[in-house]
Amino acid sequence: MEPSDIVGKTKEDASLPKATMTKIIKEMLPPDVRVARDAQDLLIECCVEFINLISSESNEVCNREEKRTIAPEHVIKALEVLGFGEYIEEVYGAYEQHRLETVDSVKSVKWSNGAEMTEEEALAEQQRMFAEARARMNGGG
């Protein structure tokens, strides 16, 4: 990886909301523990790098499958490949919750690029993939 890939381009242009991040950080710590300001800033930068990493890998997964739009299953696969498979369960749970909240207003969910699946089929397909990923994760250790 070239240093120029890492340095500069995201820092000035877009970052994550500091207040939200600080709140999340504090929630994870015991009440009497503080975080130095430069460490806080660094944590935020690490998250930005994480986003770049995941989106980049998701993009590659997407391209390998010859799809044009990055879909949830590509992100799941990327997480697994990068070694963050342990996040998948929790992330999936949050995603399901989010879906349930939005699906009431949107009857037909266009799930992947042009594929003609009914919502039930799409959900079943997704369940199958997550189960596979989980099995791989548990089997692989």
Binding site: L16, L29, V33, L42, F50, N52, I70, L79, F84
Partner: protein, 112 residues
Amino acid sequence: ISVGRVKKIVKLDKDISRINSEAMFLISSSTELFLQFLAERSAQVAMEKKKRTVRIGDLREAVKRHRPTADFLLDCLPMPPPPSDKNTHKDRSKVTAPPSFYTKSIDAFFRK
């Protein structure tokens, strides 16, 4: 973490053309988990050292301890600060040692 902000960061990558909004949500959730993970681990390191304030060195140590994270993040972290007044009381070993373990191994690599 707001999906909108995450989206802005993702869009900065010119290789990425289109991304489903649900996929954005997943990335956003994962990032939040990642932040929690790093924060918690860094705090653990600080507490092991009986410190009450989490510093960059603690974060660095936490990153090193988790292989997938170390693989992508270690290069991005700033180098430890040069010896200064702050380091005089406890961390003498860090002050007298060569600037970093990494440069040493790189040098060794080139000497071969």
